[in-house]
Amino acid sequence: MSAAESVLRVRDLDVRIPTPRGELHAVRGVNFDLRPGEVLGLVGESGSGKSVTLRALLGLHRKPVRVTGEVTYGGHNLVGMPERKLRDVRGAQISMIFQEPMTALNPVLTIGEQIRENLREHRGVTGRAALARATELLDLVGIPSAATRLADYPHQFSGGMRQRAMIAIALASEPRVLLADEPTTALDVTIQDQILRLLLRLREQLGMSVVLVTHDLGVVAQTCDRVAVMYAGRLVETAGVTDLFRQPRHAYTLGLLRSLPDAGAHRRPLRPITGSPPDLRDAPRGCAFFPRCAFGTDACLGAEPPLVPLSGERATACVHHAQLPAVGEVLV
């Protein structure tokens, strides 16, 4: 699809974080397009740069963290945009929800006040209209007796309810894009199930696009339309969700799927990825996954392989993508 149709266009995104032991190049040249109405999963393990990427989209990093590249929304580059102008976009047209609603919510304001604050700031709605809209929003996210719960403080809500409340606040501005950073990781599985279905329903009803950051491949399979897999600060594979699970085209994605227990192999050894991710203070030579890869050859050790398009709207940065076996196939 052409970039003109995308809601959010990310090009050459780089994030550098200074640390006492040298600069951490946490996000290294990330490119993607977010399409209207889609749920795009940003998947990876800890330290892969998925949350750092998400925060960079909205300019949430503060100095001395350095963000470069382009995040184009509505014809403007959000990277380097003055804070005052950025506020018209952040929390208005692009909203964000976090893993820990308790730290993201203001503990001394009622849920109702926090929703109305957003309505006033970004929609110019106040007074009775705001109250009515706030009730409607809490109801929309599935909080029972919404009108009375508006007067509650965050601590009076359970974990699942807080996440619902945070979603209601994020939706108050009627955003076109919702950025969700591990929104269900801290929740129990039956509550996670409810919140994920809720996100999908709201996406449908409100026509939003969603970027969902998660480490849980089950959550990806159940929620996302398209997936971008991150490793060591780079996108290594993008694909439609069905294609990705059926036939991964990057050795890392394949390794991830294979390391999960398979229902048919009770108590048999799992197939882990050996070793651990690289330290991004030292730029890797060639493919960053090479030291842990079962398919690596000298061909992987030149310049770091770029993300190249394949047929069927997918892309991979794996030199050996054509030789990868299926997920279930046994390695010889």
């Binding site: 359970s158 039956t190 199930d193 279905r197 399979a221 069905t242 991830l256 999960l260 882990p272 990825i273």
Partner: protein, 338 residues
Amino acid sequence: MTAVEGDALLDVRGLTKTFPAPQGLVDRWRGKPRKVVRALTDVDLTVRRGETLGIVGESGCGKSTLARCLVRLYPADRGSVRYAGEDVLSLGGDELRRYHRRVQMIFQDPFSSLNPRMTVGQVLREVLTVHRLRPREGMDARVTELLSLVGLPAEAAGRLPHEFSGGQRQRIGIARALALEPECIVADELVSALDVSVQAQVVNLLLELQEKLGLTVLFVAHDLRLVRHLSHRVAVMYLGRVVEVAPTNVLFERPAHPYTRALLAAAPHLDPAHRVDAPALSGELPSPLDVPSGCPFRTRCPHAFDRCVTERPELLDVGAGQQVACHLFDPAASAGGR
């Protein structure tokens, strides 16, 4: 490997544990009675020698409290725990120390249970010293042996905990538990904090060690996929009660309790073609401060009827080694139906 039928290593009967809930100053001054968290209520459970028993459930279900009561980290209010016939809850002094050698717990976050200023070698030597174990081959050789058992190099002994990755720290936690040559390991969310690729490494280690050392393992976790992979039998807990116990294949293929069914349906399936629009279960988990009367699950259960409000269902045998605490499965009553 299958566990020997009927050979109970740990036998838990009517185990009950409550905690006083935190109370505000005003309520205390007014003399309001303190609320009580019902963490465990009349838990019956048998762990067989050599098996892996998975314990699953959501937060507040009491799975961690159960684990901690079994290793005597928490004193139980009521009930009994027998280990190879011996009454665990009344042990003291040297007897308790001996029990702790036989039953070891491994925690989710080994980093918080390791002294940051002690090298790994010192940590392991301390355990051996405290339990007055003087290995024949000498301390250093034993430390090296333990490290190699969990796949760490001998040099690891000279390093501090912060120098290791999450997966390696979990290996250190396992090595420390194994130092005492236990018969039984209680693993509370052993790999929950680890990334999947590393998780698989630790799972394999656990499988290998169990095979090699004949360990009995209590695997407490919320990850159903892992529990299914590792366990011979699985116990499902809800609000302080065991609601279902069954051999793993029976539990996952023919779950009986409505809660078990909902829990399995809610776990995100790895196949994108396998999507459902409606959530498996509506409603919130009740607070353990305010456990519903009768069946704890009745407030969210689609099949609840009058009897569920008034009478608590007992854990009953329904055949094939499956036990269920649900009135729907009580042959003595025909009311309700499915």
